[in-house]
């Protein structure tokens, strides 16, 4: 059995390698794999305000509790992007005007929205909520027992070894204890070690015989980085050639743009990429939310739209899920911002989904309908959305109890085509 970083991460907690199932070394080399489905999980960190992203513009409670500059309008210079929907036909749900590119994807049937979705737990802590969601749980006692992430368990449950990547500096908690995942925030400079061939050779030999955590991690890194770097187009000077996006897609110099460009590039290497975890930070808008949300929502919507255009050849085997740890408080604070809330918005983008629909159940915004009297309730568990995507496109329904322990998804939402 090959030793991977998964072992070393367990090393500290004294779990023996032999007790871990299905360890295999990541294998890109010489294995041209294609045809598998790829899931991109985008996490909007900080708590994205679902009531600004997909706004119930004419709901009287929404109008009453938010100043005009902190809610989406139906008229004026920047009205929200209207959507056809039967989710709550009596309410004029609109996308934030800066998120209008998402409206195109919605109209084309590629994008599904889920409102009042999230974590069914009372926490309003970023860090508790993110940890629970990345570990596929809903309560803290479960957290103490389950250290690994839901993506890790998904990868263990899938029949073949497929690499996973994160476009962040470090792997997120969803991939905790998965030894073979790679953190690749940017490919534009390549992944070779500076200093030529010699450091590669020395370092490989240096870590060959030892099984401490550092050696294990370094070994995997050297191997996988070299494999990926070899597949990047190099110019005559050895430098990495600029990425050529397809369909005239333009990636902006933003976290969304940089990350999704990295994913697209890896996807097109046809190395069997099965999961990519992408972070988009900065949604914690306690103060001056109006301009800050508009700015970030625009970057995100344009980035996702560019990615979708660029990856047109892969649409049939590509699904993107967008999630956040919670939505935000209905009523604004005195800093022109919103504090931590509860229900939020999830999105599913893909070539094999029933898009152009808002899924879920609208709980309403009257005081008695709010969670704890203050926040949009959660009527769709985030795991219901993930379960549907995973069972239809990846692991099959039988693996779900392992991926999301103590959770029963209930009736299908119908987002994913079967």
């Amino acid at each position: 059995m090959a030793l991977t970083r998964r072992n070393l991460l367990k090393w500290g907690t004294a779990v023996t390698a032999a007790s871990l199932p299905g360890l295999r070394h990541i294998a890109f080399a010489g294995e041209e794999r294609s045809g598998n489905h790829c899931l991109v999980v985008v996490f909007l960190r900080g708590g994205c305000d679902g009531l600004s992203l997909l706004a119930p513009t004419d709901d009287p409670n929404y109008v009453a509790d938010r100043a005009p500059e902190l809610r989406v309008q139906t008229s004026g210079p920047k009205p929200g992007r209207a959507l056809r929907q039967n989710f709550a036909p009596q309410i004029d749900f609109r996308l934030h005007p800066e998120a209008a590119p998402l409206g195109e994807l919605y109209d084309a049937g590629h994008l599904a929205l889920v409102h009042a979705a999230g974590l069914q737990n009372g926490t309003r802590s970023h860090f508790v909520a993110q940890d629970l969601m990345e570990r596929g749980l809903a309560d803290s006692p479960g957290f103490k027992e389950t250290g690994d992430g839901w993506v890790t368990r998904f990868l263990l449950a899938t029949p073949s070894t497929l690499p996973a990547i994160a476009t962040t500096n470090a792997i997120p908690a969803a991939l905790a204890f998965h030894g073979d995942s790679l953190a690749i925030p940017d490919l534009r400079g390549g992944l070779a070690l500076p200093g030529g061939a010699q450091p590669k050779e020395v370092l490989a030999a240096l870590y060959a015989g030892t099984n401490d955590p550092f050696s294990l991690a370094a070994r995997t890194t050297l191997h996988d980085m070299e494999m990926i770097d070899a597949r990047l187009p190099h110019g005559a000077d050895g430098k990495i050639l600029a990425y050529q996006a397809e369909q005239n897609a333009v990636y902006e110099e933003t976290e969304t743009g940089r990350s999704l460009q990295t994913v697209a590039r890896l996807l097109k290497m046809d190395i069997g990429l099965s999961i990519a975890c992408v972070d988009v930070d900065g949604w914690d808008h306690h103060e001056n939310m109006g301009g800050r949300f508009a700015n970030l929502a625009g970057q995100f919507a344009r980035g996702l739209s560019a990615f979708w255009n660029d990856t047109a050849r892969y649409h049939d085997r590509l699904t993107v899920v967008v999630m956040t740890e919670f939505g935000r408080r209905l009523r604004t604070n005195k800093s022109n911002g919103t504090d931590h809330g509860h229900g939020g918005v999830m999105m599913v983008l893909g070539g094999q989904i029933n898009g152009g629909v808002i899924y879920g159940r609208w709980p309403g915004l009257a005081s008695a309908e709010l969670d704890n009297g203050v926040d949009l309730s959660v009527t769709t568990d985030y795991r219901s959305v993930l379960s549907e995507v995973l069972s239809a496109r990846f692991a099959g329904a039988s693996a779900l109890p392992r991926i999301f322990p103590n959770f029963s998804a209930g009736p299908r939402l119908g987002i994913v085509r079967t």
Partner: protein, 520 residues
């Protein structure tokens, strides 16, 4: 080969061991070395001041309609300035180049690296690094935090070994934190909860004491009927946020009636913004209409004296100083010392001394991976490279995952190895070591051959430098890995080679990429 005690202790209580440190440690013995370290002078000693004076940072930007282009090297100038002197940089309409506005952050980062490498008072530097992460602010995203950072750093240095209750108030009234967690704009009516929430979850009680998933009413929290709740829920956060309304800074904001606050950036309390009505925090009643600052101070009293705070802080201290998963007995004993000395002005120093002198400090190598700052500083210290920090080194450190005073979430940088073993961070470690060896960022020339007394063969050179870095000789496989890759025979005579110096520089960097130099 057992790890020498000075490697263990100096790897934990210092930014690694220099040759002089090792010698001094062996003369003094662990306990006397620790005692001496825990009595640092106020501020920098003359040797350190000279090191700070030597730093030059490049300030470079293009011209605009309102200001000329700039490209010059400047000494550090903002470290001792009052915030009022730097506050004009926050005026977005003033003709000031963008890099000027971030310069205070860059200067504090430069001073931090410089002190980590060169300060004699290593335990203090380790603790300052701990507290900057514990009370994290992000100066990279906000000019107001950047200009508040020099004062914030001074606040942390003042209290790093002091009393935790005093420390909490110094942070709660610091312009950097008031801006970063938005309490600056919090007003009666709908208070801004950002600071209150992180004060409970990250600064004091800790997330294990957040019981909102279990209880919806304050009375239901175990212990609450007796006034001693085991933890807190959102109702406590709401009330605490109200208690801190009016704690703000002089940022020129309007007060109504044509009045405005001055624009100095300093802490102030605005009575008319404060929510004066009665409150209940952690099952404790607050009477209405208390004197200025009383409500907030009472919250800080409750937090500083709560058993969950003692436990949370001591767990974090042991995790930083000993291992990712510190021994439970050590955490429990440190918690007791913390609690017993709650009222002492040197409470934190006593806890650090206890942890530092515990048997666990001399036991169990490899429970932590050095963070990039530790890697850089310990490499500079062990090699004796005469490093003076530059923009280039700071940029590389930023890219390594440890962005000093630029970490966005209020958690501070992660303190467990999973984060620091990611493929991205690992790759950057190699660059940091090779770059310091080969002077990629003009930080100082490395002359490693000076360490050789006379003619030296390749295997001897590896052995000498591996010992200088780790305190232990290399195993044969390590020597072979380095020399084979470098195409050097074990007995190759190095002195005669034209590339003697650069070849040895590279060799030393390889010695520092070993697990034994990267773990601690």
């Amino acid at each position: 080969m057992p790890i020498p005690v000075e490697t263990l202790v100096l790897g934990r209580l210092a930014f690694g061991a220099s040759a002089e440190d090792r010698a001094q440690f062996l003369i003094l013995g662990a306990n006397r070395w620790i005692d001496e370290q825990l009595m640092p002078p106020d501020g920098d000693d003359p040797a350190m001041l000279a090191r700070l004076d030597a730093v030059r940072l490049r300030v470079k930007y293009n011209s605009s309609d309102t200001y000329p282009a700039m490209d010059e090297l400047r000494p550090l100038s903002s470290l001792t300035k009052d915030i009022a002197q730097l506050w004009p940089l926050t005026d977005g309409k003033a003709p000031i180049g963008g890099p000027e506005r971030q310069l205070p952050r860059l200067e504090v980062a430069a001073a931090t690296v410089q002190r980590s490498i060169h300060s004699h008072w290593q335990v203090r530097e380790v603790m300052v690094d701990f507290w900057h992460n514990h009370f994290n602010v992000n100066a990279a995203a906000d000019t107001a935090v950047a200009v508040a950072l020099p004062a914030y750093d001074r606040t942390i240095r003042t209290h790093a070994l002091g009393n935790f209750r005093d420390f909490l108030e110094a942070i709660a009234t610091s312009p950097a934190m008031l801006t970063y967690l938005n309490n600056r704009s919090s007003r009666a009516g709908n208070a801004n909860e950002n600071f209150g929430r992180e004060l409970f979850e990250l600064h004091s009680l800790g997330r294990d004491a957040y019981l909102n998933g279990l209880y919806n009413r304050w009375k239901d929290v175990p212990g609450a009927p007796k006034g001693q709740p085991a933890g807190y829920i959102d109702q406590d956060i709401y009330e605490a946020a109200r208690a801190f309304t009016g704690w703000t800074i002089e940022d020129g904001a309007g007060l109504g009636g044509g009045q405005t606050l001055p624009a100095t950036g300093r802490f102030t309390y605005v009575e008319t913004w404060h929510d004066n009505y009665q409150k209940r925090v952690l099952a404790t009643e607050f009477d209405p209409f208390q004197p200025p600052l009383t409500d907030g101070r009472k919250v800080l009293d409750l937090l500083a004296s709560h058993p969950a705070t003692a436990r949370f802080l001591c767990t974090k201290l042991c995790r930083r100083l000993v291992a990712d998963t510190p021994p439970e007995a050590l955490v429990a004993a440190a918690t007791k010392v913390w609690t017993e000395n709650r009222a002492k002005p040197d409470q934190i120093k006593r806890v650090v001394a206890f942890i530092a002198k515990s048997p666990a400090m001399r036991d169990g190598f490899g429970g932590k991976v050095k963070r990039p700052l530790e890697l850089v500083a310990s490499y500079a210290r062990a090699t004796g490279i005469n490093v003076t920090v530059t923009n280039g080194l700071l940029n590389e450190l930023d890219g390594s995952g440890q962005r000093l005073f630029g970490w966005a979430p209020p958690t501070g940088h992660p303190d467990v190895m999973t984060y620091w073993l990611s493929s991205h961070v690992l790759r950057r470690r190699w660059s940091l070591l090779a770059g310091l060896s080969e002077n990629w960022w003009a930080t100082g020339v490395f002359s490693p051959t000076r360490a050789f007394a006379g003619p030296v063969r390749a295997a001897e050179a590896v052995q000498l430098w591996h010992e200088a870095l780790t305190g232990t000789p290399p195993v044969p496989e390590t020597t072979a890995a380095i020399l084979d890759g470098m195409r050097l025979a074990q007995d190759a005579r190095l002195n005669d080679r034209p590339d003697f110096e650069p070849l040895t520089r590279r060799m030393v960097a390889y010695c520092a990429m070993t697990p034994s130099f990267n773990l601690r």
